[in-house]
Each structure stands twice: as structure tokens, then as C-alpha cells.
């Protein structure tokens, strides 16, 4: 095997944010080589993104962090680089597809990168042509970026990074906002690009099952920010959760019949009927833009239906970003905000949802999982025993998914009816009593999970993947 040169090298590197007492990264020593495909993993908050931002020199400058040890990029100490100099060789694609662009069209956005590099104007059209050809985005040259889907935006962001002709590409959870099929397509596309360009790729990621065998090597960080393991990458299946024992009862808590909604003479929802029983967990799945979110909003009364009736208990809604619901300055007030729950109810909910320790914290400042529990609590406190969860699995790591699973399980046991919109079929196959599929505003179902999840043709029709069971994710249930 030929000796490969290290391009990025950390030696005894530690990093501390000025506002925290403990260092975020401890004594990290690693070397990344040419053409390597490395993934950095670890529990959330372990500092893996921080590590990435050290490699592209966004840190320490941007956060006034305190560092010790050495960082060498392409054989030179990171401190010796002028601002922006290292970024020519080390490009980055970030997580949020909405916050990466500053120009209206793809062509202008590509040109922005070239302008930063002071590429002479005459050379620009040729470089833009080349990269559009390489990435297969030629037909989108004049497209307006903000009108594209998340998956498309991530490809454009990648093209904008590659036009610099870098030697290393850093990826900060690039799939977090994509549905599983789009994510897999992105990975396949990226893999071809990597083969053609010979880039080194370093990614921070927790959804390893989406990457099949893309990576050569995995560096995992432990919770305290030290390297736990640095070894060859092995392909995984999704972390699977145990099949839930159904808590379904006969009582129908909520029933929608014949719901239709149209906007500007376009039918968004067509004649949808959906009963939800006490203790039942219903999964609603389907491609983006099929009307799933609209359906949830109609069911809970945020949006009005043109036709159809809704009867039974009031439904509560938990958006993908639960903080969108928040109106008060502490978790406790948030639960008490609407519906005037009795002190007993409030006490019970705070305990059942494990919110006691953060009762006085600002609801915006707690973790994502806690935010969702606060949102669920607020809905239950308002007497909404029917819970509609919009994309709660998006961008969640294994631990978060396990927590979500337990949360749904306990609410179902309490007798709530739950409807969960998700793309994650592994999660769905573990949690669902009933599955409904949605496309173009039409709901099909109910499907029995066992039958549906072995019918790959039907799943493909709805842009869904077959659940692929890996090992039971034990730690969360230990």
C-alpha cells in the first residue's frame, strides 16, 4: 500500500468555548489523508461539529475559543494561514439547506465562490460550465435557488464547494434535512463525484445507515470530547427499536370524515377519512409535498377544511420545530399557558414528561427532545388527548429516536391517540399500529404494518424505503 500524505493533522488538540468551563474537545490527535473518506461520529454535544469547524478554520476565530495543541493543514500550521486561504483547499457543505446561499440563481452563486478566489472574469464561464457538467446540474444553471427542494439545495451547495477545486470536502450532517430516499440519492451522487475528483471527504454524521459503504474509516468521539475509537468503517443497518406492544383500545377518540381542502383551485387534500382510537399509534407517510402537514393542520383546526367533518376530542399539534408553539418564558408557564389545567394535572404532566428539572428554564433554551416534551405537555394540559406529531424523526440521532419512541409509547399507554408523520420506515415499523400512505392529497389505508413493510413495490410508489433492521439499539433500553 502506498504511503499517503496526511493533509489535515491534529496533535494533542483541545478546545474550550469561552462560556463553558469544561473543554469541548480533549487531547485529539488524528491525521486525515488524501482521498480518504472519513466519518466522525459521537453522541450529540460531543463536539463533532466543533472539530469540523476547527478543520476549516471557522473556529477558534468565530467564537473566541481557547485552544491548545497543534493543527496542521497541508503541512502548515493553521495559524499561519491568512483568512480564507485554507478554505480554498478545504471546502464545506453545511446542514441547513436554507442558510447557505447569498445569490438568487445557481450561476450567480457559483460565481460568488469564484469571485472570492479572485478568479479573473474571463475564466469564470468556463469553470462554471465545467462544474455544472461534473455535477450534472447543467439544466439548473439559471434556476432560482430558493425555489428548489432541500436535496437539490444540498447538491448546489456541494457544487459551490467543488468549484473551488478543493482537496478536501467537509460535510456537516448534510442529510439532516433530507428524507431517506433523497439522502441515499445524494450519497450515491457524492460517491461518484469523489471518485472523479479524488477528494478527501470528512463528514460529521449520525445516520450511518444512509451512507451504505461510503466511508473507509470512522472516528468516534466520546461524550467528553475525546477520541474513543479510530477504526475501519463497517456498513450498518438502521438502529432498530423493539416492536412496540400495542396499547390500542376500542374507543374512537377522534374521527375525520371526507376532508377536502383546496387552495387556488388546486386540491391539497381529497376526501380524507381518518379515525384515531385511544392508545393507537398511526403513522402517516408519503413524499414531500403530498399534503401530510396540511392534513395535520386541518385535523387540529389550524386550517379550515372546505368539506368534511371532524368529531371527537380536540387534537393537539406538535410541529417539526416544537418551539414554534412557545409563548412564555419558562417551561412551567408554557404548560399552564392555555386551558388552565388543574394543579394536579400540571403536576402529573411535569412528572410524566420528565420536565421537573427544567421547570424554570426558558423553553427556547432547552434541548430539542425537551422542547418536544414541553410541546406535548402544553397540548395535554390544554385537554388535547389526540396528538399529531409532524416529522418528529427528522434529523434525530439514535438516542433522540429512542427517547421519542419511549415518549410515544407512554402517551399511547396513557390512552392518548397519536398520529405521527414520518419518512423513517425503520421507526415506523417499530412504532405503528396502523399506517396510512399519502400522495397528491389522497390518503390510502389503513395498512397493516406487517403487510405494508414487506411490500417494496407499494413503498416505492410512495417514495419510501424498506425498513432494514440492524441490531436492536440496546443502550437506550438497558
Amino acid at each position: 500500500m502506498p504511503v499517503r500524505n496526511p493533509i489535515l493533522q491534529l496533535d494533542g488538540f483541545s478546545f474550550r468555548f469561552p462560556e463553558s468551563v469544561e473543554p469541548t474537545l480533549r487531547d485529539i490527535s488524528l491525521a486525515i489523508h488524501e482521498k480518504e473518506r472519513v466519518v466522525i461520529t459521537g453522541p450529540s454535544g460531543c463536539g463533532k461539529s466543533t472539530l469540523l469547524y476547527v478543520l476549516n478554520r471557522l473556529y477558534p476565530h468565530n467564537c473566541d475559543g481557547e485552544v491548545s495543541g497543534s493543527v496542521r493543514l497541508f503541512g502548515r500550521s493553521a495559524q499561519e494561514y491568512a483568512p480564507g486561504e485554507a478554505n480554498r483547499k478545504i471546502a464545506t457543505v453545511f446542514q441547513d439547506p436554507d442558510s447557505q446561499f447569498c445569490m438568487p440563481t445557481v450561476e450567480e452563486e457559483l460565481a460568488f465562490t469564484l469571485e472570492n478566489l479572485q478568479v479573473p472574469r474571463e475564466e469564470m464561464p468556463q469553470r462554471i460550465d465545467q462544474i455544472l457538467h461534473l455535477t450534472g446540474l447543467g439544466s439548473f444553471r439559471h434556476g432560482v435557488i430558493q425555489t428548489f427542494s432541500g436535496g437539490m439545495k444540498q447538491r448546489i451547495a456541494t457544487a459551490c464547494a467543488l468549484i473551488m477545486e478543493p482537496e478536501c470536502l467537509l460535510l456537516d450532517e448534510p442529510l439532516a434535512h433530507l428524507d431517506p430516499l433523497t439522502a441515499k440519492e445524494f450519497v450515491a451522487w457524492l460517491s461518484l463525484l469523489q471518485q472523479e475528483t479524488g477528494l478527501a471527504v470528512v463528514a460529521v454524521e449520525h445516520k450511518l445507515e444512509l451512507w451504505s459503504s461510503f466511508f473507509d474509516r470512522e472516528i468516534s468521539l466520546s461524550e467528553n470530547g475525546a477520541i474513543q475509537q479510530d477504526q475501519a468503517f463497517t456498513e450498518r443497518g438502521a438502529p432498530s427499536l423493539p416492536k412496540r406492544v400495542s396499547a390500542i383500545r376500542q374507543e374512537v377518540l377522534f374521527e375525520a370524515v371526507g376532508i377536502s381542502v383546496s387552495k387556488a383551485s388546486k386540491a391539497l387534500l381529497q376526501n380524507i377519512s381518518l379515525p384515531l382510537r385511544s392508545g393507537e399509534v398511526t403513522v402517516i407517510a408519503g413524499p414531500n409535498g403530498s399534503g401530510k402537514s396540511t392534513l395535520l393542520k386541518v385535523l387540529c383546526g389550524i386550517l379550515k377544511a372546505d368539506k368534511g367533518t371532524i368529531s371527537g376530542m380536540r387534537a393537539g399539534f406538535v410541529p417539526q420545530s416544537p418551539e414554534q408553539l412557545f409563548l412564555s418564558k419558562s417551561v412551567e408557564e408554557e404548560l399552564a399557558y392555555s386551558g388552565n389545567p388543574s394543579p394536579d394535572t400540571l403536576h402529573y404532566l411535569m412528572k410524566a414528561l420528565d420536565l421537573k428539572t427544567i421547570a424554570h428554564a426558558h423553553p427556547f433554551s432547552v434541548s430539542h427532545g425537551q422542547k418536544r416534551r414541553v410541546a406535548i405537555g402544553a397540548m395535554l394540559a390544554d385537554g388535547r388527548q389526540v396528538l399529531l406529531l409532524d416529522e418528529p424523526t427528522a434529523g434525530q440521532d439514535q438516542q433522540a429516536l429512542a427517547e421519542l419512541y419511549r415518549q410515544i409509547e407512554s402517551r399511547a399507554q396513557d390512552g392518548c391517540a397519536l398520529a405521527v408523520v414520518t419518512h423513517d420506515m425503520n421507526f415506523a415499523s417499530s412504532i405503528a399500529d396502523t399506517v396510512h400512505l399519502m400522495k397528491d392529497g389522497i390518503l390510502s389505508g389503513p395498512h397493516q404494518p406487517e403487510e405494508l413493510f414487506s411490500n417494496s413495490a407499494l413503498l416505492a410508489e410512495y417514495r419510501l424505503h424498506m425498513p432494514k433492521k440492524g441490531d436492536i439499539y440496546a443502550p437506550a433500553f438497558a
Binding site: T92, F94, D98, E108, R121, M164, K297, L325, D382
Partner: protein, 249 residues
């Protein structure tokens, strides 16, 4: 011809517009703003492709504002000299006051017309690029503004989602306008918190693509050519003609 104003160098256009506005502030006769208003509309008719329906809609609030100026100047203006034209109750209106009221309200229309001309014929991105290339506007500031501008549709979506989410919490449910306004107040903090998050992400994305704010090349070169000078002179001509009203009116 119909594209001339759209193709005019935005910095030059801005200079012309600002110059006109400052100059007009020195004139207190009704004819100057009226002539200027007509001149500007004429320029826009001849040298631009304007959606006049939209233009009228944009003009409407200013028309109402102008009316406000008109009658407050009559009621609260200094009496001034000259013959009293008529008396309503305790208020007597002199010829000078009458003229001034016309002047101030027409001024509102004159300002609005030239401002709308600028807004209707200038693409924001070109304006910023031109400021960067002609007036050495700091690229850091320029691209921060451009990126903010790209966020407008994102903000709009977020705004709607927040509004919907808050509806289920029972705010803004009462449909009285006052209640709706106080419900809007609750959206501000979440919107700003989102803006803070996006600011950091956007800045990181720019820096990661080697943006430093230092010297750069330009893909879209925005130049100043002969036709920009001609148009500038046209604006000056309209201004001069309008201002000359003090000699004959």
C-alpha cells in the same frame, strides 16, 4: 428605449434620485413639485416597462398621506400674509397658506413618484453590486445584505408557520384587529431568534467558501456608460425645468 431606465447604472440612478429629492426640499411653491411629478411620470412612461396597476397601488398610501399634509398645513400652518381667502369657524385661510398646503402635499407626491421610479426599475441585486463596484461598498456589508434578501421567502414561510402554531395555543383567535396586532407581537421574538441562528449559519457558509471581504473579481460587471450620463442629464433637466417655476409662477 423602453428598457433604458431598467438598464441605467443603479448607483447613478440613486445619485440622481437623491439629488432631486434634496433639491426639491428648497422649494415651497406648488408648481415645482407638480411639474416634477409630471416629468418623472413622463420619463417612466417613455423609458420603462412599468406595471402601472401595481404602481397605482403603491402610490395610493402616499396620496392619502399627501391629503393629510394638505389639511394640517391649512389648519396648523402659520397664518402668513396675503389676503384671507375664506374663513371656517375660527380658522381663516390666507392665500399664502393655501399655496403652501398645495406645495407640501404635492411635494409628498413628487418624492413618492421618483422613489417609485427607482423601486420599479431597479433590481436589488444589481443595486448592491453597483454600490460595491462603483462606490466601493464593503463586500462584507454588501453580501450580508444580499444574503438577508435571500432570506425573505424563508422568513415568510417561518412567519406563517409560527402564526399557525400560535393559533392552536389560542392567540389571535379572537379576530378583533387589536387582538391580532398583539398576537403579531408574540411572533417577533421567535422570528428574531431564528434570525440569530441563520446569521451564524450563513456567515459560516460564506467564510467556508473563502469569503473574506477583501478584494474580489466580479462576474457581473456593472459599468457606467454614455447612456447613464444622458439619463442623468434628463433627470437634471426635469429638475431644472420644475425649479424654474419660481421665476414665472
Amino acid at each position: 428605449m423602453r428598457r433604458l431606465l431598467h438598464e441605467m447604472n443603479p448607483s447613478m440612478k440613486f445619485l440622481a434620485v437623491t439629488g432631486c429629492i434634496l433639491a426639491l426640499a428648497f422649494f415651497f411653491n406648488p408648481w415645482t413639485p407638480l411639474l416634477f411629478f409630471s416629468g418623472v411620470v413622463l420619463l417612466q412612461v417613455l423609458f420603462s416597462q412599468t406595471n402601472w396597476k401595481l404602481w397605482s397601488l403603491a402610490m395610493l398610501p402616499f396620496l392619502i398621506g399627501a391629503f393629510g399634509y394638505f389639511w394640517t398645513t391649512l389648519v396648523f400652518g402659520q397664518p402668513g400674509e396675503g389676503p384671507v381667502l375664506w374663513t371656517i369657524g375660527t380658522i381663516s385661510i390666507t392665500a399664502q397658506q393655501w399655496e403652501l398646503a398645495w406645495s407640501l402635499s404635492l411635494r409628498v407626491l413628487a418624492f413618492s413618484s421618483i422613489s417609485l421610479l427607482f423601486a420599479f426599475t431597479t433590481k436589488p441585486v444589481h443595486f448592491i453590486q453597483s454600490l460595491m463596484q462603483q462606490w466601493k461598498l464593503s463586500p462584507k456589508l454588501a453580501f450580508s445584505v444580499l444574503i438577508s434578501y435571500q432570506f425573505l421567502p424563508v422568513f415568510k414561510t417561518e412567519f406563517e408557520q409560527l402564526q399557525q402554531a400560535h393559533r392552536i395555543r389560542g392567540t389571535g383567535a379572537g379576530s378583533s384587529p387589536l387582538k391580532r396586532l398583539t398576537a403579531l407581537r408574540r411572533l417577533l421574538i421567535p422570528m428574531l431568534a431564528g434570525a440569530v441562528r441563520k446569521a451564524e449559519r450563513a456567515a459560516f457558509a460564506m467564510e467556508a467558501r473563502a469569503f473574506t471581504g477583501e478584494a474580489r473579481s466580479h462576474y457581473a460587471e456593472i459599468k457606467i456608460g454614455p447612456k447613464d450620463y444622458v439619463l442623468f442629464c434628463l433627470f437634471s433637466l426635469v429638475l431644472t425645468l420644475s425649479c424654474s417655476a419660481i421665476f414665472w409662477a
